[in-house]
Amino acid sequence: MRTPLTVRLFQSLPRTAWLALAIFAAIAWIAIPAAHLLLPESSALHVSAYTVTLMGKILCYAVVAVAMDLIWGYAGILSLGHGVFFALGGYAFGMYLMRQIGTDGSYGVMLPDFMVFLDWKELPWFWIGSDSFLWALFLVVAVPGLLAFVFGWFAFRSRIKGVYFSIITQALTYATMLLFFRNETGFGGNNGFTDFKRILGYDITSPQMRLVLFGLSAALLIAVLILGRYLVTSKFGRVLAAIRDAESRVRFIGYQPTQYKLAMWTLSAVLCALAGALYVPQVGIINPSEMSPANSIEIAVWVAVGGRGTLIGGVIGAFIVNLAKSFFTVSFPDYWLFFLGFLFIGVTLFLPDGVVGLWRKLRARRPAAPAPTGTAPAVATEQPAADTPPPAASTQGARA
C-alpha cells in the first residue's frame, strides 16, 4: 500500500503547521495588500511601502536561512559562502532587469550604462538572451546550481569536512566577490546593477508590483518550508542526519555520503539563488558586497539564533536579527555591532538550540511532555518535539 506522494507531502507536516502556514499566507496575500492599498496613510493599520519592502526583503532572507538550515542543521555542513549563491541568483535576474531598462538609461542606448562607461560596443556573450524572462529564470537556477554542484562534488569527494569546508566556502565567496568587483568581468563592478525600471514591462516601483514581489517571496518561503519538512522527514533526511552524526558508519552500511551531501548542498544553493532573484527587484540593487564573507556568516547567525535543525528556526532568526538591525541602525547606530556581537556569543553559549530550542525546553518543563533527550546539541533538535508526531515511517514501524 504505497501512499501517493501528495498525501505523504501532506502528512509530512502536522495539522497545526498547515494551519499556521494558512494564517501566514492569508496575512501575506490578503491582509497586507489590503492594508497597503486600501487603508489611508493616516490610519494606524496602514502598512507603508517601506514596511512592505522591508518585510519582502526579510522574507527572502528567511528563505536563505531555511536553505542554510537544511545543509547545516540537517547535514552538519556549515557553509560560510552561501552569500555567493544568493548573489549569483540576484545577478542572473539583475541581468534581465538591466535589459528591461532599455533606452531609459542615462545614455539612452540599449546597452547597460556601465558597458557604455567601458566603451563596450555590444553585449558580451554571457549576456546573450538575458532579455528573455524565462532564460533569466533558467540562469537563476542553473548558474548557482552548477557552481554548487561542481564545487560540492570536488569538496565532498575529497572528504573535506567541518571547518575545512567552511573555510574554503569562505574562500570561494571571497574570490567571487573580487572577481565581480572587476569592471572587466562585465557585471558593473563595484556599482553592480541599479536603477531598475520594470519587470515584464510593468513599472517596478508601482505598489502592485511591490505587493506581487512580496507575495511571491511569501509563497517561496511557504514552499521551501513544506519541501524542507518533507525532505528532512523522508528517508533521505534520515540518511543525511546519519551522515552528520557518523559518516563512516553510513559508508559501511552502503550509502554514498558524497551523493547525499551533494544533493542537499546543490538544492540549498538553488533555494538561495531563488531568494536572491526575488530580493534584487525589491531592494533595487545587487552588487558584489553581497558576497562578502561577513554577509555569509550573518546567514549562519540567523539560523543559530532561530535554532538549528528546526526549519522554522531559520525564519525566526532571520526576522529577529534583521528587525533588530533595522531598529538599532536608526535608534542606536553606535550599538548595532555590540548588539549583533553579543547576540552571536549569547546564542552560541546559552541557547545552543536557539529560540526554538529554548521554547521547547520551556515546554518540556511541563510534566505532560517527555523531555527532549540526548547529549549533542543536535539531539534535541533532531528529536521530534513533544507535540510533533514522529516521522511517518517510524510511527508505522512502531505499530508493526
Binding site: F151, R159, A175, Y335, L337, L340, F342, L349, P377
Partner: protein
C-alpha cells in the same frame, strides 16, 4: 633630465664663472628680494646664485627655504624662523620682537629641485664624505653640460674611490654628447658600469635611426661600445628584476606569516576556530599606537625606540585580551568548532566596535621610527625598505620564539600533551584548564606581535583585522593544521606566488588566482602541505 633643470644649471654655471675667485660675501639684498618673488623662475635663479656662491650664510638661507622656515614679514623683510626666535635673513642677526605676521615662503617641487641641485653643487666641494657622496649621487642623475666646470675639477680632486666612480658616470653622461668621438667611445664604455635604466635609454637613443636612415650616432665604434654597454646594463637590470620580485615575495610572505602565526597556535594546535584573530592583530597594532603616543608625550628623546617598547606591550595586551576571551567564551565551546566559529565572530564584532568607540572610526597614525624609514639601495638601484627588512627579521624572531616555546619549555610540553590527549594529560596532573588559557593567551600574544609589525606597513584602524582573517586561515589550512613548518612554507609560497602573478596579471587577478589555487589545492590535499598520516587522521 628636465629642461627646467638645464636652464637652472646654465644659470648656475654662468654665476659660477663670476662667483669663482670673488671673495665669499654675504648674499646681496637684491638676491634676497628675488628669493621672495612670486614667479618661480626668478626665485630659482636667485637660489642658483646663492648655491654657486656657497657662503655659510647662503647655505643657511637655502636650508631655511628648504624646510619652509624662510618667511616674509608684513613690512617685506625676509626672516628665518627658528624654534627660539627669528633671525634677519640678510645679516643672520636675531631680531626682536618676533614678527607674528611672518608668512613662510611657499616651496613647490620645482623650487625644491632647484634647492637640491644648488646644495649639491656646493656640497660636492664639502669636506665631509657622506655629504659629497649624496651630492655626487644627485648630480649623477641630473648633471648636464652646464655643470662640467664643477664636475671635472671635483672629479680630479675627489679622493674617495666610490664617489669618483659616481662622478665619472656623471661626466660620462655629459661626454656622451661631446664633439670628439674618442670621448664619446670612452663615455659609452664607461656607462656600461651603470645599472640605471635611464642611462640605458640614453645609450639606446644613439642607436636610433632618423627619418632618412641615418643613425643618431654617426661613429660606428661608439655605436658598438653603446651596444655592449646596453647589454651589460640589461643583464644587470634583469637580475635586479628577479631579485626584487623575490624580495617583495618574501616580505609579503613574512607579513602573512606574522599574521597567521598566532592562528597556527590557537587553531593549528588547540583547534579553536578563532574568527576574532584579526582583531587580536588589531589590539597589538593599537597597543603599538598607544606606546608611540606615550613616548611622544613623555620620552620624546627616545621616540625612535618606541617600537622596541611596543613589542612586549603588544604581546601582553593581546595575550590578556585573548585569555579573557578564552575564559569567558571559548572555554565553553571546546570540541564544538562551528559554534566556536560563530561565537568568536561575535567577539570580533564587539572588539571592532570597542576600538571604534575608544579610538574613533578613523585610522590612526603609526610612524616608522627613523631607523625603519627609508631603505638600503642595493645594486641596480633596487631599494630594500628598512621596515620590510626589519619585519622579515622580526618574523624569523617570532618564529624562533614560538618554536622554542612549544618545543623547549615545560608549558609547551604541557600544551602538546593536552592537545594530544586531554584526559590522559589531566590524569598525569597537567592542569588542563589553565594550560588551555595559557596556550590561547600565547597564541593571542603572538597575534599581538603580528599586529605590532603590521602597524609598520599597513593601516591601523578598527576594521584592520578583517583584511587579514581570510589570508591567515588560508595560510594555516594550506600549511596543514598544527604544522609550524607548514605555516612557514605556505606563507612564503603564497607571498612569492602572489608577487609573481601580480607582476604578470595585476593585483586583482593575482588575488583571485591565489584563492582559486588554494581551493583546488585543498581538494587535492585536504590535510594541507604537511599532512599528519596515521590511523587517527579520520577523527
Amino acid at each position: 633630465m628636465s629642461p627646467s633643470l638645464h636652464h637652472l644649471l646654465r644659470i648656475l654655471w654662468l654665476t659660477l664663472c663670476c662667483a669663482f675667485g670673488s671673495a665669499h660675501a654675504a648674499p646681496s639684498a637684491e638676491t634676497l628680494a628675488r628669493l621672495a618673488a612670486d614667479d618661480s623662475d626668478t626665485r630659482i635663479a636667485a637660489i642658483a646664485e646663492l648655491g654657486a656662491e656657497g657662503s655659510a650664510q647662503s647655505v643657511a638661507l637655502l636650508d631655511a627655504l628648504a624646510d619652509e622656515a624662510l618667511a616674509l614679514t608684513g613690512d617685506g623683510r625676509l626672516v628665518i624662523l627658528t624654534d627660539t626666535g627669528a633671525l634677519d635673513a640678510a645679516s643672520g642677526s636675531a631680531i626682536a620682537p618676533y614678527p607674528d605676521d611672518a608668512e613662510p615662503l611657499m616651496v613647490n617641487n620645482r623650487v625644491r629641485n632647484a634647492l637640491q641641485s644648488a646644495k649639491a653643487a656646493t656640497n660636492i666641494r664639502a669636506t665631509d664624505r657622506a655629504t659629497r657622496l649624496a651630492a655626487a649621487q644627485l648630480l649623477r642623475d641630473s648633471a648636464g653640460e652646464a655643470l662640467m666646470p664643477i664636475l671635472e675639477p671635483a672629479l680630479d680632486a675627489e679622493p674617495d674611490k666610490e664617489i669618483r666612480a659616481i662622478l665619472a658616470l656623471a661626466v660620462a653622461r655629459v661626454n656622451l654628447a661631446s664633439a670628439e668621438p674618442a670621448k664619446r667611445i670612452r663615455a659609452a664604455e664607461l656607462l656600461g658600469d651603470s645599472s640605471d635604466a635611464s642611462v640605458k635609454a640614453m645609450l639606446a637613443a644613439l642607436l636610433d635611426k632618423d627619418g632618412n636612415g641615418q643613425f643618431a650616432e654617426p661613429d660606428a665604434e661608439v655605436r658598438a661600445a653603446a651596444k655592449a654597454s646596453i647589454l651589460a646594463i640589461e643583464r644587470r637590470l634583469a637580475i635586479a628584476d628577479l631579485a626584487s620580485t623575490a624580495f617583495t615575495g618574501l616580505s609579503l610572505g613574512s607579513i602573512l606569516l606574522l599574521a597567521a602565526l598566532g592562528l597556527a597556535i590557537t587553531y593549528g594546535v588547540m583547534g579553536v576556530i578563532n574568527m576574532a584573530h584579526g582583531e587580536l592583530l588589531m589590539v597589538g597594532a593599537y597597543a603599538t599606537y598607544v606606546v608611540q603616543g606615550l613616548f611622544r608625550t613623555h620620552l620624546p628623546g627616545y621616540i625612535d625606540s618606541y617600537v622596541l617598547a611596543a613589542v612586549p606591550v603588544a604581546f601582553l595586551t593581546a595575550a590578556a585580551v585573548g585569555m579573557l576571551m578564552e575564559r569567558t567564551v571559548i572555554r565553553w565551546l571546546y570540541g564544538r568548532p562551528l559554534e566556536t566559529l560563530l561565537a568568536t565572530w561575535g567577539l570580533s564584532l564587539v572588539l571592532i566596535q570597542t576600538a571604534r568607540v575608544i579610538f574613533g572610526p578613523q585610522n590612526v597614525e603609526v610612524a616608522n621610527p627613523s631607523w625603519m624609514s627609508g631603505g638600503v639601495s642595493s645594486f641596480a638601484d633596487i631599494v630594500l625598505p628598512w621596515n620590510r627588512l626589519v619585519i622579515i627579521g622580526f618574523a624569523i624572531f617570532v618564529l624562533l620564539l614560538v618554536w622554542l616555546m612549544m618545543q623547549k619549555t615545560r608549558l609547551g610540553m604541557f600544551v602538546r600533551a593536552v592537545t594530544q590527549n586531554r584526559a590522559m594529560a589531566g590524569c598525569v596532573g597537567v592542569p588542563t584548564a589553565r594550560i588551555d588559557t595559557l596556550a590561547f593567551g600565547i597564541g593571542a600574544g603572538i597575534a599581538g606581535l603580528g599586529g605590532c609589525a603590521l602597524s609598520q606597513v599597513a593601516n591601523v584602524g578598527p576594521a584592520m583585522g578583517q583584511g587579514y582573517i581570510v589570508d591567515s586561515f588560508m595560510v594555516v589550512v594550506l600549511g596543514g593544521v598544527g604544522q609550524l613548518a607548514g605555516a612557514v612554507t605556505a606563507a612564503m609560497g603564497l607571498g612569492l606566488m602572489t608577487k609573481i602573478l601580480e607582476g604578470w596579471a595585476g593585483a586583482v587577478v593575482a588575488k583571485i588566482l591565489v584563492l582559486v589555487f588554494i581551493i583546488i589545492f585543498i581538494q587535492k590535499r585536504p590535510q594541507g602541505l604537511f599532512a599528519l598520516k596515521g590511523r587517527f587522521v579520520e577523527d
